[in-house]
Point group: C2
Chain length 342, copies 2
């Protein structure tokens, strides 16, 4: 029956026999994101970051809706043809996604993976298309700096001082439409992450909290597939930032693995110094937008042939933080390539 | 390739050719749940509802962990054999599940579907097992009255008055282990829900907010499969409560459909009058526990042959409520049967 016809399970990695294809993608961002190094890769940016709405939470809903609409438009796919949307975000009870789907009208499987959501959604959409469950599955995620700041840290008006290890939540959304076949890029393999906790308690140092999860998933993927960093043009994590990236390198080196071709979405989205974004970008929308504004375009243009996209999430809340709990991390991995085979 | 070998897609419903099987299930609850009509169906209940923890949020983590452990024990499956866990809950950023998975150690796909989470997770676990992606997939969800009250409404100490339409969040967790084959019960078909909003703004009347989503999913499922209420021994919703159940009946009757065999998990878990639970039980753990303490046992003993399990969720947060947004609902449906065919 199904197993061998759809995917090969190697350890905890699923390798697709007939890799599902990315049919279209879109990225939408705020003003700061438009001014960053990837600004020109966005399909749409809003000069005042409100997206014409009266609250930051509503702005995020609107941004995510616009992003999905752009993505479908690029694929010339009517909304009512969408079989399933895998979506989630950082707002409590994932309301940015829930309210965006109210407008889109498609069936929805709501996700929570914090900043790992885009990789989780893309992996699930890939699995659903490879099995033929969906002809058109959308993965999407978003975050909004102003909504996240007041939820997780301080309202903007308070003017709280930022620590050097703190990251800057991106105001961004990314959508990727996946189909069972096409011209690519292709989803070649996926590895779902395990919750990992190295007892980091500093809510302003989430890169450190997520790095162990990233190392765990990456090392499992390499062991499962018998591959190494040299088999990929680039290994993208998101969003470890400067601190988490350094820690990931150290954790991998402890296991005898060097990562010379590692880039972090949080370090690609902003110019850290010129844009004053601390240890780098973060937020569920950061890796989602970098995927749609940089990684997938790069696979289309030939800049990359085969890459790993591994989004990382910190699974705490303000309640667990106030209760002095440590911050668990998770990282989901998706192997993407320009070609269907090889 | 895959599509026809794994499932038939009828409209937005997936009907499995070789239905995945429920290998084991477990329900864990609090004191009030142990005193309700389904009390004897629980695998474990805690007499003081703290589960030995110092905060209600930690109690929920412990309850969910215990529930997963019981479920795996009943299947004699070591934790490290779990391929993937689909889990979510009501706490902001789904921390009950994230922290429970920190202990369990298995790969996790985090979900957010509010009180619909158990059906969403069971549907995804079914899809993953039917496609052979996972040999052992766990679906689980939970809620804790005391954690939910202080998050969504008032801290218990405030002693807030409850309205007659308000529901009582269950202190309960349910876990279901799904495998590609077995002796059953079997997951025959799944329908993912659409976000539906009838402009209900009363946070104390979530049954009304969710009823339109339940009607939408149920009517789509019947249309997709060419079946009707008479083809099922019972149609379980969760958790519409008294108000939502009445509305669901009215909405279906408008479409010419009577539901003489409808039961709501929120009305099964508690004795409304004797236990003073308002319009009935609710919470992501309510339908999860009723599934594991009543529905699945009923399919094993022969009390039921074929049923629909349709969990409903209200996708608001305290932020959207304070911003005077209406409450969107969602309902995911899973068709379960004692037999693999027929």
């Amino acid at each position: 029956m199904a197993l061998e016809s759809v995917a090969e399970r190697r350890g905890s990695t699923l390798v697709f026999h007939r890799p599902p294809a990315v049919a279209a993608f879109a990225a939408v961002g705020g003003k700061k994101e438009s001014e960053g190094p990837l600004g020109s890769g966005f399909d749409l940016t809003d000069p005042d970051t409100t997206f014409g709405e009266a609250s930051w939470e509503k702005s995020e809903v609107r941004m995510q809706t616009l992003c999905a609409e752009r993505c479908l438009k690029k694929a010339a796919l009517p909304q009512d043809k969408l079989d399933l949307v895998f979506a989630g975000d950082l707002q409590a009870q994932c309301t940015a996604s829930g309210y965006a789907l109210r407008t889109l009208g498609a069936p929805m499987a709501g996700l929570y993976g914090a900043c790992s959501t885009m990789a989780e959604g893309l992996a699930l959409a890939g699995c659903f298309c490879a099995a033929g469950y969906t002809r058109h599955a959308l993965a999407m995620s978003s975050s909004h700096f102003c909504a996240a700041e007041r939820q997780f840290r301080f309202p903007l008006d308070y003017g709280g001082k930022r620590t050097p290890t703190s990251q800057w939540t991106a105001t961004a959304a990314g959508s990727v439409l996946v189909e069972p076949e096409g011209t690519g890029p292709f989803i070649r393999a996926v590895t779902f992450g395990r919750v990992t906790d190295f007892a980091i308690k500093d809510i302003n140092n989430m890169g450190a909290a997520m790095a162990p999860a990233a190392a765990d998933t990456l090392l499992r993927f390499f062991a499962d597939t018998g591959t190494g960093p040299a088999d990929y043009d680039r290994i993208f994590t998101g969003d470890l930032g400067q601190v988490g990236s350094t820690l990931l390198a150290a954790l991998c080196e402890k296991q005898g693995l060097k990562l010379p071709n590692h880039s972090d979405c949080g370090l690609l989205l902003f110019d850290q110094k010129a844009q004053n974004t601390g240890a780098g970008g973060s937020g569920a929308g950061c890796s989602a937008a970098v995927l749609a504004a940089h990684i997938l375009p790069g696979l289309r243009t030939g800049a990359y042939d085969k890459v790993l996209f591994m989004a990382t999430g910190a699974l705490m809340s303000t309640t667990t933080f106030q209760q002095k709990e440590s911050i668990p991390g998770i990282a989901h991995l998706v192997c993407l390539s320009a070609r269907e085979k090889g």
